[in-house]
Amino acid sequence: MDWTWFHRLASPPHVYALAVRLTPWFAWPAALCIAAGLWSGLVLAPPDYQQGDGFRILYVHAPSAWMSLMVYVTMATAAAVGLIWRMKVAHAVAASCAPIGASFTFAALVTGALWGQPMWGTYWQWDPRLTSELVLLFLYLGYMGLRAGIEDPQRADRASAVLAVVGVVNVPIIHYSVTWWNSLHQAPSVMRLAKPAMPFAMLAPLLLMLLGFTLLFAALLLTRLRAEVLARERAASWIREVVSV
């Protein structure tokens, strides 16, 4: 079997060049999708019959919450690849994911709280989604803390990779236990963010935003990855060629 593609993929100069080339292909569609999603979600979509205009924060909250999980899974996958095949670039990907994921998680929490004020009359409810989201934020913070705490960069890569893999095994368990816990202590909330049947005019902007956020993540990841690769390879000779061009 020909493995050259794999080795090319693992080589930092190649990854750097690829990231430079691919970034606009994600950044522009992301901007378009988000602009269209915001316009159709905030202006065109009809107000909700129960929540009025308040529901519109959903168009930021739901994609952020979705991304917070997806970024974690991406991070753990990259970390596992880095651990198994000792691929440095994969560790750089995982390192680039963490702050992005933490930001999405934070955005999901803030928008959730803002939505809670008009809906629940309080900024914070120990709702299972928000609670899980908060735990996820701690998982991200722990990951970044461990990475920052270990001085040797390679050990930091590998130790945080173990943590990411352990975390991704635990995320479903935590989510399940938090949902289980909530079902004991609270009557099911009347207002759910995602309703089973959503009219198309409300759903379409949401899908646009989901797509837009996913593309945004890809663009952000590539940008961060470039910086990460540059920082890691600062002693290498190919950097001089790239930077002088």
Partner: protein
């Protein structure tokens, strides 16, 4: 080989010299099997712990003092405290077990024991499991034995105590295992206490949730089998996965 610009060395074996004869090798000693190795690793930690009994008492004292805080901060009414008892017991047990984690691998990392374990030719996963088991015997089990007294002081009736003991005993197995991963990952970090909590507590939440629920049901005198089974499932999952992760983390710390 010699054209390379690096450092090169090649030895001429003494045995290749004319006339040299290898002496008879001693009969190779029987290698210790995995069970024997794990047994010794466990016994070593137990013996060391009993040489320094002061450290054993610390988590228990911590558990007691955390318990004392609640009546002082909230109210001395037993009726109210009884409602809070599951939370107090589990937060106290969780923090007590966390407190002892810092010592789980620290000395072994410093004096080279972990290095010898990693190079012993034995399964490092098995040795990690033995160490974690020792940690549970030295902290989790004593905390579980103390939990009924804590509950008693919070106005829980005596009938509920066996259930509380059981729940904390099973749950603390999972806590020790989860904690072993965090302790191994933070090896070599100075002042790792806060980071260790940040890594370990989010992963411990399911144990806290199921454990507190089992305790609550025990206090109300109803069957707590459901959450207890979930706790046991977490412990089993921990037994299968945590020593692997801890062994990987220890190897990384030695790189």
């Amino acid at each position: 080989m010699n054209q390379r610009d690096g450092h090169v060395a090649e030895t001429l074996g003494a045995l290749d010299a004319p006339g040299a004869q290898p002496r008879d090798l001693p009969a190779p000693a029987r290698r210790a099997d995995a069970i024997e190795a794990a047994r010794l690793a466990l016994l070593r930690d137990l013996q060391l712990a009993f040489r320094k009994p002061g450290q054993l008492v610390q988590p228990l004292a911590f558990f007691a003092i955390v318990t004392l805080l609640f009546p002082l901060a909230i109210s001395p009414e037993l009726a109210r405290l009884r409602e809070l008892a599951p939370g107090v017991v589990w937060v106290g047990a969780l923090l007590g077990s966390l407190l002892a984690l810092e010592f789980l691998f620290r000395d072994d990392a410093q004096d080279g024991t972990l290095e010898q374990y990693a190079l012993s030719g034995q399964s490092l996963t098995g040795l990690m499991f033995a160490k974690t088991l020792a940690h549970w015997l030295l902290t989790g089990l004593p905390l579980a034995l103390m939990a009924p007294f804590v509950a008693l002081s919070l106005g829980v009736s005596a009938a509920a105590l066996p259930g509380i003991l059981l729940a904390v005993a099973v749950g603390s197995v999972a806590l020790s295992l989860i904690g072993s991963i965090g302790a191994a990952l933070t090896l070599g970090i100075k002042r790792s206490g806060a980071l260790l909590s940040l890594l370990t507590l989010p992963l411990s939440l399911p144990v806290l949730i199921f454990g507190a629920r089992a305790t609550q049901l025990a206090i109300h005198g109803t069957s707590f089998l459901g959450p207890l089974e979930l706790l046991a499932a977490l412990a089993v999952l921990g037994v299968t996965l945590a020593p692997l992760a801890a062994a990987a983390a220890v190897r990384i710390s030695l790189e």
